[in-house]
């Protein structure tokens, strides 16, 4: 099976198609075709119709649209090369009717679809006979199944992979890798039934000297019971990253001895730390404002052995608006006259800078031997960004192909980043104030790091794009639901396929050939606007004017040279072998297949 897979070239050169994912299982031979794309196992056709796709780049294109329970597929007729669209329905955030039966003008009657992945789709239909009614209704039902009592496609999919992605992350194994438990930190199963905290995972690492009773008391003083627990421990200096939610200080400035003592215990686990650093991800004013709703931050008087640092990262609403502005200037057309000031006015890169510089400060504290506590309000958005980025800087394991998956599973999925609310899987309420591109922002930060350290990551940009695509697609169970307890209740691991099953079955596509194993150093990216770039190949990938390179020329050349090296080595081996067997002196005479002739196309510039 692996052999069959390697025959397929992951083909994204068709500009509009992203998910030409070939299933190389035995069933593929008899698999039904949708126009020319095979349906996924479990995918079913629902409707198809003649339609006009109003392409923002090339104008209206006549063709046929196919809708299944998983995707919207469009293929043009009489255009060469064919224009295709292959959009998982999960990507759709909003479907609207465009124009009315009496609208004038060509192609003014149809559908307007807003997507979560930085594009909009518009289709026009014939004006007579309510021609859009059925397709609109079906699209609306299947794009938002949860609003219509239907199941997400992940639960209908029959895909099979040899790899089982659900085994990628095993919390105990991961903590063991970090050298835990040790004499200062213990693993607790106190949250086994999600009684301590319903948005935390079942397995937690807490200070050895804090009793279960202590933990329960602390939980009452932390928003949603999200108590400080260990995320990462430095293998040498034993400094730790712990994460939690805000303390419930409130307007009256309440104090809680247990919480104060608990933080001091965390500080004391590391003898080098005389002061524990608490990073509050929020801007100072927001932290203060939270007191009105019962939250707040650790006051200096109460927490004597701690210093509090605000990291000035804004909330989910600010980020959502920022991305909206970014979309306005890149889709469908890139803002031409004032590109740079427009880009600046979206503040998107500035937010990226703040998140990165926050994570740098966390990593810096840890590597100088101080333990830190990171929180924001609830500890599932900004906190997840900061801890995971800091861990990416500190621990080269998380920069490997597997390690990165573990990092996502651990800091994001298991610790309850509210994927369902932030993305709105299968939900029609596109204006929900809970939606926000926090995870996208994190992946963007990772991308910025891979740009600055092109040899430090084992995975490539394609992996990051694939993760984002399937963040929305609802084809895999990985990013569904808000927390582990909800995932357990819905039997996600039983009933759906993990994204990592899919990714790990095609490892070669996502590997960075330039990866160099380097264990020692902490990677500090430069969080200056001078180095931060807009991730063009993600945000502007639908624009055909932006040349998309499947493989960067650098990567292509490197792979060619690697192949050449192999070839030479083989040849050399043969020659040495023939040399040792027969001592014929005319070895200078080049044989017809002498390598220097075969590889003239690879002449080096010297």
């Amino acid at each position: 099976m692996a052999e069959i897979e390697s025959c397929f070239v992951f083909n994204a050169s068709t500009k509009q198609s992203i998910f030409l994912c070939f299933q190389a299982s035995n069933e593929s031979l008899k698999m039904e075709l949708l126009a020319d794309v095979p349906l996924l196992p479990g995918e079913e056709r629902v409707i198809d119709k003649d339609i006009i796709y109003i392409c923002p780049f090339n104008g209206p294109v006549k063709g046929r649209v196919f809708i299944t329970n998983y995707r919207l597929f469009f293929r043009s007729v009489d255009v060469d090369p064919a224009v295709t669209l292959n959009v998982p329905l999960g990507v759709i955030s909003r479907v609207e009717k465009m124009g009315g039966a009496s609208s004038r003008g060509e192609n003014s009657y149809g559908l307007d679809i807003t997507c979560k992945d930085m594009r909009n789709l518009r289709f026009a239909l014939k004006q007579e006979g309510h021609s859009r009614r059925d397709i609109f209704d079906i699209l609306f039902r299947y794009a938002f199944p949860l609003s219509h009592g239907l199941q997400l496609f992940a639960f209908l999919s029959q895909e099979k992979y040899q790899e089982n992605g659900w085994t990628v992350y095993n919390p105990v194994q991961e903590f063991r890798r970090q050298g835990l438990p040790n004499d200062q930190w213990r693993i607790t199963f106190l949250n086994n039934n999600y009684e301590l905290c319903d948005t935390y995972p079942t397995i937690l690492v807490v200070p050895y000297s804090a009793s279960d009773e202590d933990l329960r008391k602390v939980a009452t003083f932390r928003s949603r019971g999200r108590i400080p627990v260990l995320s990462w421990i430095h293998p040498e200096n034993q400094a730790v990253i712990t994460r939690c939610s805000q303390p419930l200080v409130g307007m009256s400035g309440k104090r809680n001895r247990d919480d104060e003592r608990y933080l001091d215990i965390i500080r004391a686990t590391n003898k080098m730390t005389s002061k524990l650093t608490i990073f509050d991800a929020r801007p100072n004013v927001n932290a203060v404002a939270n007191k009105a709703t019962g939250g707040g931050y650790e006051g200096e008087d109460a927490y004597q052995n701690a210093e509090l640092v605000f990291l000035d990262i804004h909330n989910i609403h600010v980020m959502r608006e920022s991305l909206k502005k970014l979309k306005d200037i890149v889709y469908p057309n890139v803002e031409e006259s004032h590109w740079l000031s427009s880009l600046e006015s979206t503040h998107w890169l500035e937010h990226i800078k703040l998140v990165l510089s926050g994570a740098i400060q966390v990593a810096d504290k840890i590597s100088t031997g101080s333990s830190v506590v990171v929180h924001c309000s609830d500890g599932w958005d900004r906190t997840a960004q900061l801890t995971s980025l800091a861990m990416l800087m500190l621990d080269s394991y998380y920069r490997t192909f597997r390690g990165f998956q573990v990092l996502l599973e651990k800091e994001w999925i298991s610790f309850g980043h509210k994927f369902a609310s932030r993305i709105g899987h299968g939900d029609k309420n596109h204006a929900d104030a809970d939606r926000s591109p926090i995870f996208l922002q994190f992946i963007d930060c990772v991308w910025q790091m891979t740009k600055q350290f092109p040899t430090a990551f084992e995975f490539n940009e394609r992996l990051l794009v694939a993760v984002l695509d399937h963040l929305y697609s609802c084809r895999f169970g990985t990013f569904l639901y808000n927390c582990e307890s909800a995932r357990d209740a819905n039997e996600v691991k039983m009933k759906t396929v993990s994204l990592w099953s899919f990714i790990n079955s095609d490892r070669a596509s996502y590997i960075n050939p330039f990866y160099t194993v380097e264990f020692v150093h902490v990677l500090y990216p430069v969080a200056s606007m001078r180095h931060l770039e807009l991730w063009v190949s993600y945000y502007i990938r639908w624009n055909p004017r932006i040349r998309q390179q499947q493989h960067s020329p650098m990567e292509q050349r490197y792979k060619e040279l690697l192949a050449l090296k192999e070839q030479y080595l083989r040849k050399l081996e043969e020659l040495q072998l023939s040399d040792s067997t027969s001592h014929l002196s005319n070895s200078t005479a080049p044989s017809p297949s002498t390598p220097s002739q075969r590889v003239t196309h690879l002449q080096t510039p010297f």
Binding site: N315, W339, S377, P525, S528, M529, R545, Y568, L572, T604
Partner: protein, 762 residues
Amino acid sequence: MLSGGGGGSGGGGGGAGGGGGAGGGSGGGRSPKPSFVSYVTPEEINLTEKEISRKEKQPDLLQGEVIFCSASPIRKCTQDDFSQRGIFGSLFCTNFRISFISDETQLEEEEGQVFKNKLYGENDIPLTCVDNIYRGFDEKKKLITSGSVRNKYPSKIIIHCKDLRVFQFSLAFAKEEDAKKIFQGIVHHCLEPKSLKCIFAFSYSEKMTFSSENQTKLKTVMFDSMVDWAQEMKRTKGNCKLVSANADFNISTKLPQFFIVPLAVSEEDFTQFQGKGIPIWCWSHHSGCALFKTASLPLMQEDGCSQSYRTYMERMLNAVAQNHLYSVKTEELPETLPTIQDIQQSYNKFKQFFLVDNTTEFWMSDVKWFSSLENSGWLDIIRQCLTKAVEVVECLENENTNVLIMEEEGSDLCCVISSLVQVMLDPHFRTLEGFQSLVQKEWVAGGHHFLDRCNYLHKDKELQSPVFLLFLECVWQLLQQYAPAFQFSETYLTVLSDSVDVSVFSTFLFNSPHHRATTIQPVSLLAQKGPLNLPTVWDWSVQFNSAAQDFFTNPLYVEKSRQDKVPRKTFRPKHQRHQSLPSTAFKSSPKKSFFKDETDSLKKMLRVKRISRWLNPTDLTQSTTREFYEAWQRKPLDYHGLLLPCVDGPALRVWAQRYLRWLPEVQIFGGGAMTLEKKLVDLLAEVRELRGKLDWHCSVDFSHRGAAALAGSSVRLSSAFPFFVSRTWSFKPAIPSCLQKNLITGTFADKEDEDSECLGVI
């Protein structure tokens, strides 16, 4: 002896010394060698002892270099103002450079310094490389202009270099007499007007002989002989006339000795307007049409000679049109492109972003980086030049029309556009020697006023403008978009841009071939030798050893294989159509053009019709250029074929290597594009070695190991490699200090937070 100012600043240094010491203590374990920290007050420094040690330390003088003055002890301040750390040493001013020699032994020099310039080191500033000098006091600085210097001298001087380095020297510790002398010396030699003969190149080359060996090895065509031009015409299959009548500059001092014109230009035409208006051939397209440039007289002057000039220009245009299919398009570059003053002003704003005096200033400017960048207009000027070049390429490639680009002198924007067009169209000019030949052809022989534009002699600031740098910037944009198409690397372009200001190379010293010829001759008469042999910049061995020169080649570049080399197409179907309708196009620039009237009369003469397409041209040219780009972009990319730049906002970028290499705040330690390139170069060297072994099993010279061996694995690369190799293995990250607090925009400012449901919890 010490002035009050000096004592004050010394005290400041001492006071901050504690902080610096603490910093040094924590990082001391890692840094290979502690930097000198000024714990002591100036009085404590034993000056006599310093003086003795100074005697032994002098810069390694080049041939013909003499020291004008020197002072010690001088403290070179590091850019990090907070720690007030610095290195003590001596400051020299020679006829070539300002040189700072550290008192400390330079152990680290050898290691990692693979990319060493033989002419000047990291603490040397060639006099012509000095951009501005400031007097520093308190937290401020004030520009020093020539003539403003009296008897005073500042306790601190800040020097901004044209290669974007920033130096700060404290003069407060030196003897008053010495300090005054060195200050006045530096100001005098860097700011005051001087004569060309004072430029170091002349004293340097008197003592040196430069073999042309390296040049012949590189085969850079110099375009100073009949043969060179004839060869170039033959290479491009041009069918024009090679003119040698100006060999002694009898026709014009502005034209090169040899040049090429359309066949229809007659001998009499040369003399009529002192060479003005003669269409000079640049390059022939394989279809037969060609690119010409000309220095045209000022437009629309209603004076006496106007009529005769008009008929003359008509004849010239006619001659260009006759070159191929009776069609020509003219383009008045100044009408749509910025003036040289615009270019200078924009660059002045732009470069300020990189001449940063301290960390606070850096992070302050970081907040508004994108809009400041836009306000400088520099990227926009690059965009305009690239776009103009694409328009010209479209005429040549798509319409097979002759193109005549014009400008008053014909040696600024004409050079930029003509050479860009050739880089895009002709892969030969994307090789190292091809590119160097192109610079010789269009810029050196083409009479670009290098001396005036670089303002080495500090004479007319109005004439100063980084036009050549603008061209290199445009080439860099192409290089970063289509890296495998170029044989040379980014580092090569950066070094070339630096070399302009080294004042050793004949390439950049003159305003025209005539200027060069007349300058060189008298000198050599005095010296009773042959003509003065100034090195050209293309003799890279003057600056770099061969190992360092390996950084100039681009590991991504792959020569076109022989099988792929198909003979040039002689025609295409659409050209045939043209041939059957030879009189289709007589296109003039759509804008209000001087040539409008002329073209009308010419059209009558040639009986050509105006094409309706050109009736409403301004939008049309834009949209056709866009179409042209998009049509090209849809085709598979051929790195050995036509290249068109993408000029969309996100595609144009800042030349990070050139501009960010000296800024400590943006060094990516252990990262940067070079880490990638190094892996490729390593593998390339490995493959090459294997091939060597294969080609004949042994007996192959393995001496050439490529850049791989240079950057030994012990060196941790950074984004500034190879220009800057970090010594203080600082693991401290740069943490932005000035973050914009008022990011909150719109209505969500006060709406904290995702925990709006949090209300009910307690």
